[in-house]
């Protein structure tokens, strides 16, 4: 079952003759439960692509279909709701709210939408990510790896259709990276969670189920 599909996706910046083709005709499908890596160097268009997959940006042309809905032409307001209900984000710089403790951070997206908190599921995530002892601590007192694990837990909390991870280990040392990625992979398997990860690092990408390469705004399935 395709959870995500892009059809001839294009994103151009500027005007002729100085047009910049950030994304140039990308066709990509992602299956439910798949852990996909998009690998590319900086400037290859990978972040632009991720922004459009997550409804952070509108494409110039083409379609982005997430769980059957075309999100490419939605208004900003609709995109906000779409993101909150369908997409989990994991960023390079963690983006936890410093005034809330870790547990509050994790359940924040649920609180915002006025949803019931599935305590059993949340506890399961926290246990899997080895955060039991850190639940009541504030982000500033946590190490980078712990913060990123918290951010992964937050992304999982809403059981989103898809989790988008933009260089999730970009700010971590190689040892912590390996551990965090191992856990990310484990959550993907255990909860059948679809994850799309962007990275420039081949060593990290090999942990995923599938790797696609992006160069100059085009996808290469190698």
């Amino acid at each position: 079952m395709n959870i995500l599909e892009t059809i001839d996706l294009k994103k151009y910046y500027g005007e002729k003759p100085n047009i910049v083709k950030a994304i140039d005709g990308v066709n990509l499908t992602v299956q439910k439960g798949e852990f996909l890596a998009i690998v590319g160097t900086s400037g290859s268009g990978k972040s632009t692509l991720l922004n459009m997959l997550g409804g952070l940006d509108n494409p110039t042309s083409g379609k982005v279909i997430v769980t059957g809905q075309d999100i490419s032409q939605l208004s900003d307001e609709e995109l906000t709701i779409f993101r909150r209900r369908n997409v989990g984000f994991v960023f390079q710089n963690f983006n936890l709210v410093p005034m809330l403790n870790l547990y509050e951070n994790i359940v924040l997206p649920l609180d915002l939408d006025g949803e019931i908190i599935d305590e059993r599921y949340i506890e399961e995530i926290i246990e899997l990510l080895h955060l039991e002892d850190k639940k009541r601590m504030f982000p500033n007192y946590l190490s980078g790896g712990e913060q990123q694990r918290g951010a992964i837990a937050r992304a999982l909390a809403t059981k989103p259709s898809i989790i988008l991870a933009d260089e999730p280990t970009g700010n971590l040392d190689s040892k912590t990276s390996a551990e965090v990625l191992g856990l990310l992979k484990r959550t993907s398997g255990q909860f059948n969670q679809t994850i799309v990860m962007i990275t420039h690092n081949n060593e990290i990408a090999q942990l995923t189920d599938r790797i696609v390469r992006i160069e100059d705004g085009r996808i290469y399935n190698r």
């Binding site: 079952m1 959870i3 439910k32 439960g33 769980t67 059957g68 809905q69 939605l74 609709e78 709701i81 779409f82 209900r85 939408d113 080895h130 790896g145 059981k159 259709s161 040892k175 390996a178 551990e179 191992g182 856990l183 992979k185 484990r186 398997g189 255990q190 059948n192 081949n202 060593e203 990408a205 090999q206 942990l207 995923t208 790797i211 190698r222």
Partner: protein, 339 residues
């Protein structure tokens, strides 16, 4: 519902009537009475319409909900996908839940199919692989059947037949192993046991091959290292990696097995001084029947590393590889420290 409405309206009319009787008896004034009556009916009318409107609104909502649920039951996913989910309204929230439910359903109905497909592709892969040695065997047999064959030639042919037979039996064994793993016939038993023994078991299987190439094997692991893992299958996974390392290592080199405990994972490094793997193949070498272009002169079918990855993944661990061409490769096996 009808009764309650009737009672409510009735009581309002009775209260109104009583009020007007009271007006007539104590403040008799025709203008006041008329005004009061009009006012009373106006309020009654507004009340009545508002109520009807609210009831209609809720009935509509329940009706749409009923329709959406019907789409879901009928598996009319196209209609389900068209439900409005991007408003800050209650309807939209409920629609979102219905959409999620449809996703879960679709996924569950697809899961069995996917497993079946996996198995099918495994079987077709294997049968494809078995074909080549089978054809070879047949050719060798035809050659043997000729009468004017010298003794030396006969021995040579028999020897290559033996090689082909070995290949077939190895392939079949691999197929049985991986298909059992894949359909879940084999349950891995993660129980706390000594990793050192497991590594020793894996090494015991390749010692002869290593000695033939004069490859030294160095182990850096505490003699008592308790880790939850499946002994038999983990040994198999490590054995496959080690065997692979020996296959692609030149004579008189070294293979190191190093165990390191991290916060959440235990890392087992297997470091060889072999020919190395190009970076773009890192993700591919664990695929079934993948073989590097440069390795076609080395014997093998490309199922060992695939099996290793399956085994480690089934224990919630993972494998990765780092390598420099010409200097060697490091396979890192990560197994979780907890159960």
């Amino acid at each position: 519902m009808m009764n309650r409405d009737f009672f409510e309206m009735g009581s309002l009319i009775i209260i109104g009537a009583m009020y007007h009787v009271f007006l007539i008896l104590y403040f008799y004034n025709i203008r006041l009475l008329l005004f009061s009556l009009i006012f009373y009916f106006a309020i009654m009318l507004i009340y009545y319409y508002n109520k009807k409107k609210t009831v209609n609104k809720y009935m509509n909502f329940i009706n749409t909900l009923n329709n959406s649920l019907t789409y879901l039951i009928n598996r009319d996913y196209q209609r389900v996908n068209k439900l409005q989910t991007l408003d800050e309204t209650f309807d939209s929230k409920v629609n979102q839940k219905i959409l999620q439910l449809s996703e879960i359903w679709q996924e569950e109905s697809l899961r069995g199919l996917k497993e079946k497909e996996n198995l099918q592709s495994l079987i077709s892969d294997i049968s494809h692989q078995v074909k080549t040695p089978m054809t070879n065997l047949r050719m060798l047999q035809t050659a043997l059947a000729k009468e004017e064959i010298s003794k030396e030639e006969k021995e040579k042919l028999l020897k290559s037949m033996e090689g082909q037979l070995d290949k077939i039996s190895f392939l079949l064994e691999s197929m049985i192993k991986s298909s059992r793993l894949e359909i879940g016939l084999i349950q891995l038993n993660k129980i706390p046991s000594n990793l050192f023994d497991t590594i020793a078991e894996a090494i015991a299987g390749i010692v002869v091959k290593a000695e033939k190439k004069n490859i030294e094997i160095v182990v850096d692991c505490p003699e008592s290292y308790i880790l939850p893992h499946d002994k038999k299958w983990t040994a198999e996974a490590l054995f496959n990696i080690l065997e692979n390392g020996i296959k692609y290592s030149p004579y008189n080199t070294k293979i190191e097995v190093k165990v390191e405990r991290w916060e959440m994972y235990t890392k087992i490094d297997i470091i060889d001084e072999g020919i190395g793997i190009p970076e773009e193949d890192f993700g591919k070498i664990f695929k079934r029947f993948f073989r590097e272009e440069s390795s076609y002169n080395v014997e093998g079918v490309g199922i060992g590393l695939y099996l290793s990855r399956e085994i480690i993944q089934r224990q919630e661990g993972y494998i990765k590889v780092a390598s420099i061409i010409g200097e060697g490769s490091t396979f890192s096996v990560f197994l979780p420290n907890d159960l």
